[in-house]
């Protein structure tokens, strides 16, 4: 079958990209076996610390943003349906 989609949008390539992605992730952690990574403060000395720290802090930031979104998100015409914005043009 001739697939006219861009190569990035073909399912078999997407699967391949995921596999490569996980390979690179693993490689970045295993690289620690070659280049020793010392922690700076003692408690950050263990294997793969930066990987775990990056993942967890990002998860925390996304969840915090999600929670804050409940409070601060408004429809994107929020400031337009208001007489406050009715001024003259240039």
């Amino acid at each position: 079958m001739n697939d006219h989609r861009h190569w990035l949008y073909r399912p078999e390539n997407i699967r391949r990209l995921w596999r490569w992605g996980f390979g690179i992730l693993a490689a970045s952690v295993l690289a620690q076996l070659v280049f020793e990574v010392y922690g700076h403060f003692g408690f950050d000395d263990w294997f793969g610390f930066n990987a775990v720290y990056g993942f967890l802090t990002c998860t925390a930031m996304v969840l915090f943003a999600k929670l804050l979104g409940v409070l601060v998100k408004r429809d994107d015409s929020y400031y337009q349906d208001n007489s406050e914005e009715s001024g003259g043009g240039p």
């Binding site: 861009h6 690289a31 802090t57 998860t59 943003a65 408004r74 994107d76």
Partner: protein, 568 residues
């Protein structure tokens, strides 16, 4: 005065003013050539005051050079040239003029040796940048530019008040470190605090940071590229000179860093994502200034330099998309890599650089700020900066390219942007990589000698782990980041919603109070008049006509009473 005695900023400033009188070829030469002339001029500026003049009783220093001002001047002129190149094919003439005046004014601030010169150029920057915004020509841009101008005029008033207090207290107008004065007490401290507040407002610091994501994204595709560079980085420069080592700045900087990340994560408009990201990046620089060591100050200066390049690159990429599709919202975009591979590649290079990937410019500059925190054993700050680095990859490094160039296919098939835009993007993308591969080029023009090696096996591996796993977090949490047609309320809600509501309430209160008082006064007046009328009106006793006989009778009675009283 020495050899070349002319404020370098004025070259661009005057160039901007005469630009409209040239034809399109002349304009091209001016827009691209004058920044290079300025670059040449500012590298000829010697250390120390070189152009002075008398103003009233003060000796003002129009030009004072040092390594820091030449560093900032260099990147500002490079930015003016590349921004001009990007703008030439699409921008209106008024935008080209305003951009040059704006860039010239910010170079004026960088080389100002005293507070009066600084203030004058500072205000010219506000005028120039407002005109850049304005020249987008839409009603929303006009309104945003008026809000922008109000906030910056307020900042100007605060700065002016601070300068007045400072000069009154010290009798000095030269601009130097004021960190010690913050705790001095009295008028001097008040002046220093007000000056700091004026500077911080331009840096996008809380609570008034919302002016930036409110205004910049309303500019034209090229306008926002220009705007992203000068105002905030001029503020970084003056903070380095005036307030290095002020601890408050560490905390303000960290707030800005996380504010930028969280709001960018919530945002749907690609250029607002990048606007929040400016606040985030300036937060890194402000934190470095607060740490205040040679390492961290070098780091902040270097980060300002690299940031201007990759942020302009990201905004050029976003601007090219906006120029070609007319769309800004992530929910309308996607899949553009298919027909805009060059724009996408340049955007990705910018995204990698802002995320501090090894071999890009961000890696060699941001890590100096973290190293500054590490050297001072600021454990919390170090870990916060590390988390923030991961967060930058999350909100700008992946989110921007992913939702614009990849994700679902939006069906849009725009072509690549015009030649000028493409060349500008490629030049800045190349610079991001060259600076990352050969850090010595930047390190040798930093204000202080650099004793730092960014490329160690440990540093590269640790940074890659941090970034790649934050990327994993992005894709793992993608369902939580579904684009919605929303905006996020910020402190600007106070002056866009609460302020008008309060003003209207106050207005109607004053109106009704005024009516009550007016009515009460009128009825009092009316009653008094009736009283007067009762006695003196046409029908009252006092107004009756008397006969002569009655008059004589009254006079006789009065005289009689008088006699009785006299002899009694």
């Amino acid at each position: 005065m020495s050899g070349f005695a002319f404020p370098p900023g004025l070259i661009l400033l005057f160039g901007g003013l005469v630009l409209p009188f040239f034809d399109s070829n002349g304009r091209r030469i001016i827009v691209l050539g004058l920044p290079l002339v300025t670059l040449w001029a500012l590298w000829g500026v010697p250390d120390g005051p070189s152009v002075t003049a008398r103003l009233l009783e003060y000796e003002i220093v129009l030009v004072e050079g040092d390594r820091l001002s030449r560093l900032f001047g260099t990147i500002f002129t490079l930015m003016a040239a590349a921004g001009g190149l990007f703008a030439l094919s699409s921008a209106r003439t008024v935008e080209l003029c305003a951009s040059m005046v704006y860039a010239g004014a910010s170079i004026g601030v960088i080389f100002a040796g005293d507070l009066i010169t600084l203030f004058v150029f500072w205000e010219l920057m506000a005028v120039g940048s407002t005109l850049v915004l304005w020249s987008a020509g839409t009603v929303t841009a006009y309104r945003a530019s008026m809000r922008y101008l109000s906030i910056h005029l307020l900042g100007g008033v605060v700065l002016m008040a601070g300068i007045a207090a400072w000069v009154a207290a010290t009798g000095e107008i030269q601009f130097g470190s004021m960190t010690g004065a913050l705790s001095a007490g009295g008028l001097k401290a008040a002046g220093a605090w007000l000056i700091l507040a004026g500077f911080l407002l331009n840096a996008g610091a809380p609570p008034l940071s919302a002016w930036l994501p409110d205004a910049y994204p309303e500019a034209s595709p090229s306008g926002m590229v220009t705007l992203s560079a000068f105002t905030t980085k001029t503020a970084v420069y003056v903070l380095i000179v005036g307030f290095a080592g002020t601890e408050l700045l560490i905390w303000l900087g960290l707030y800005m860093v996380f504010y930028g990340i969280v709001y960018a994560l919530l945002e749907n408009d690609m250029r607002r994502i990048l606007a929040y990201s400016i606040v985030n990046q300036v937060g890194f620089m402000v934190t470095g200034i607060g740490i205040g060591t040679v390492m961290s100050l070098n780091g902040s200066a270097a980060h300002a330099f690299t940031h201007i390049i990759y942020k302009a690159l990201l905004l050029m990429s976003a601007g090219a998309v906006l120029h070609m599709t007319g769309r800004r919202k992530c929910s309308d975009l996607g899949g553009l890599i298919q027909t805009m591979p060059l724009t996408a590649t340049c955007g990705i290079v910018g995204a990698l650089a802002i995320s501090s990937f090894p071999l890009t410019s961000g890696f060699i500059s941001k890590s100096m700020i973290s190293q500054g925190a590490l050297d001072q054993h600021l454990t919390f700050v170090w870990f916060a900066l590390a988390a923030a680095s991961a967060g930058v990859f999350l909100h700008a490094g992946i989110k921007f390219p992913w939702f614009v160039f990849f994700q679902k296919d939006s069906g849009l098939r725009p072509a690549e942007p015009p030649m000028g835009m493409r060349v500008a993007m490629v030049i800045f993308a190349a610079l991001c990589i060259i600076l990352g591969v050969a850090p010595g080029m930047l390190y040798q023009i930093l204000p202080a000698p650099v004793d730092y090696v960014p490329y160690t096996g440990e540093h590269v591996v640790a940074q890659l782990q941090l970034l790649l796993f934050s990327g994993l977090a992005f894709f793992a949490l993608l369902p939580l980041m579904k684009r919605t047609l929303t905006i996020s309320l910020d402190w600007d809600w106070c002056y866009r919603r609460l302020g008008p509501v309060l003003a209207r309430a106050l207005g109607s209160f004053i109106l009704s109070a005024d009516r009550i008082f007016r009515d009460a006064f009128l009825s009092l007046l009316r009653r008094g008049l009736e009283e007067v009328r009762a006695y003196y009106g046409p029908d009252s006793i006092a107004a009756q006509t008397w006969t002569t006989a009655a008059m004589v009778l009254c006079a006789v009675i009065a005289l009689g009473l008088y006699l009785i009283l006299l002899y009694a």
